[in-house]
């Protein structure tokens, strides 16, 4: 068998490994095996490629391997609260690799004409690669709070954005038709870079889970397009797996907000709607101290914690664990209700709570949580807002109408930790806070929980 066939065989086995890797990730007991199988798949792919006869020198490859590992390891050791930013950054790296390979291929073949299909795939690879690169960097900037998290809008924004993309695509079509050379190619790449930036400018923090999933999908599609250019099925398979994963996650996120893709990308959600918070002062709410909250929690028989981005922002997950331990020891049944879009990326809350050593069987999905809430004594909302707003069920005028929510208002008592009565990020007033059964706990999530834990300990030992 020739060397080339062995390499092809390695690629085939690699593709099998990737599929098995993802299917084993479906549940916790097999998930680690899934990761190891993925590593094996990648080792086969890299090993096979290094054997390719056309490689002239390994010098720069060795440099890149060392450099990539040196940057990659610290990026894997970041604290879990930084996972959304880290993910955005790695989408940027993946997309950059695809775009640069596409660019190199174009200029290598600039002397001999590329055929139409290859040029088309190349244009797609470069457009997707570059737009995902800058869009992911922008998302990183917003998540890291280097850039303002609020959406920024201007008149005619969607027209400008779509115009830029349309020109880039038109240049790609011109290249396929054999018109336009290096200049057209570079302009196309430049416009794709610009479109990536423009795309994220109007996106607010609350929409990040959908946008990150979508960028995940684009990075995969860019890799698949590279497979068409390089005539390599392994790239197409791995790219498609990533593309479909990102697509499914985006669909789940959109459904969890009852919104469409177009609405997420062009709707600029999260600006305060005109007069959206009016009447907030007119309604009355009740508040409670840490001591009162602790006494209610200790005397409850079941508690449902509803975490949101506020818990992550305040890094309160370890205090939540302390409270969990204390209450569980007292015989209180403590569970967690996880909304699909809670936090800044899919599954964000689960990872944070797992990091804080909360067993994953205490984490309930939306439907399971809603089935239990009517029999729950206390719903404790920590840093979540829109996902608990009952207006989503009945107020047709509300921007979140139709969004599936966690039915915290069905619990016997509701307690919500919040800095103040100011409406949250999306500028929508939350009806939940004005219910008779709701007690507002004002303060920073971490600080307030620390006090609650202290009071609860005192109560537990004293009474």
């Amino acid at each position: 068998m020739s060397a080339s066939l062995w390499i092809q065989l390695a690629y085939l086995l690699s593709a099998v490994c990737f599929i098995l890797s993802l299917s084993w990730l479906s549940s916790v007991p097999t998930a680690r095996r899934g990761v190891l199988t993925g590593v094996l798949g990648m080792a086969l792919a890299v090993g096979g490629t290094l054997l390719r006869p056309e490689l002239a020198s390994y010098k720069w490859l060795a440099v890149a391997f060392v450099l990539g590992t040196t940057i990659g390891v610290p990026m894997a050791l970041m604290p879990m609260t930084a996972v959304p930013q880290r993910t955005a950054l790695s989408h940027a790296f993946g997309a950059l690799a695809a775009a640069l390979v596409g660019t190199a291929e174009f200029f290598l073949h600039a002397h001999g004409p590329l055929d139409r299909f290859t040029t088309g795939a190349l244009a797609l690879e470069v457009i997707l690669g570059f737009l995902t690169f800058t869009a992911s960097l922008m998302a990183f900037g917003k998540l890291q709070e280097i850039l303002p998290q609020r959406p920024i809008t201007f008149r005619g924004q969607n027209l400008v954005n779509l115009g830029v993309l349309a020109v880039a695509v038109a240049l790609g079509v011109a290249l396929v038709a054999g018109k336009g050379g290096a200049g057209a190619f570079l302009l196309m790449g430049g416009l794709a870079l610009a479109f990536g930036i423009l795309l994220i400018i109007p996106i607010g923090g609350a929409d990040m889970p959908t946008v990150i999933s979508l960028l995940n999908s684009y990075a995969g599609l860019a890799a698949a397009a590279m497979g068409f250019v390089l005539d390599n099925n392994l790239l197409i398979i791995a790219g498609s797996l990533d593309g479909s994963s990102g697509l499914i996650l985006s669909i789940i996120m959109c459904r969890a907000m009852n919104r469409s893709f177009t609405n997420v990308l062009f709707g600029a959600f999260g600006q305060a709607p005109a007069g959206g918070a009016q009447g907030a002062e007119a309604k009355s709410h009740r508040s409670a101290s840490a001591e009162e909250a602790a006494s209610i929690l200790v005397n409850a028989s079941s508690v449902m914690v509803v975490p949101g981005y506020g818990m992550a922002a305040a890094q309160a997950q370890h205090k939540v664990r302390e409270l969990y331990d204390l209450l569980t020891k007292r015989g209180v049944d403590v569970k967690f209700a996880i909304h699909p879009v809670a936090g800044r990326m899919p599954g964000h809350m689960n990872v944070l709570l797992a990091e804080a050593n909360i067993p994953y069987d205490a984490l309930l999905e939306l439907e399971e949580a809603n089935a239990e809430l009517p029999q729950t004594d206390v719903a404790l909302v920590i840093g979540a807002n829109d996902v608990t707003n009952p207006a989503a069920r009945h107020d047709k005028g509300s921007p979140i109408y139709g969004m599936p929510i966690i039915d915290t208002d069905k619990a016997r008592t509701v307690m919500a930790i919040k800095r103040s009565m100011n409406p949250g990020f999306a500028g929508i007033d939350n009806e939940l806070y004005y219910l008779d059964r709701t007690l507002m706990l004002f303060g920073d999530a971490k600080g307030f929980l620390a006090e609650v834990v202290k009071e609860a300990q005192a109560e537990a030992s004293g009474g």
Binding site: G38, T49, F65, G68, L77, L96, V101
Partner: protein, 97 residues
């Protein structure tokens, strides 16, 4: 790429997408963050194209771009698998406490 090649690659794309959709749909929402970091590592398969471009040394431009691309892919391979493994190690079942 000939028209026939294009079609056969499209077959692969379509079938792999279906496999992806079926497999990923079964992933528990609990693991959506590790799923994203794992697919991120897998999409660093761009390393294959990057190595070829960097290693062929056909022009200075392609070697430079290729080397940057290999570095970027390598960051995602190492970082992606490692953080996914780290995350999964944190998921523990209760009941024993």
């Amino acid at each position: 790429m000939s028209g026939e090649q294009l079609i056969s690659h499209l077959y692969v794309l379509v079938l792999a997408t279906f496999v992806g959709l079926w497999v990923i749909r079964r992933v528990s929402p609990l693991l959506h963050t590790p799923l994203m970091s794992l697919t991120n590592a897998i999409s660093a398969i761009t390393v294959v194209g990057s190595i070829v471009v960097a290693g062929r040394q056909e022009s200075t431009l392609s070697t430079v771009l290729g080397t940057i691309a290999v570095t970027a892919s390598m960051i995602n391979i190492v970082g992606g698998y490692l953080i996914t493994y780290r995350m999964l190690a944190m998921f523990k079942k209760g009941g024993k406490r």
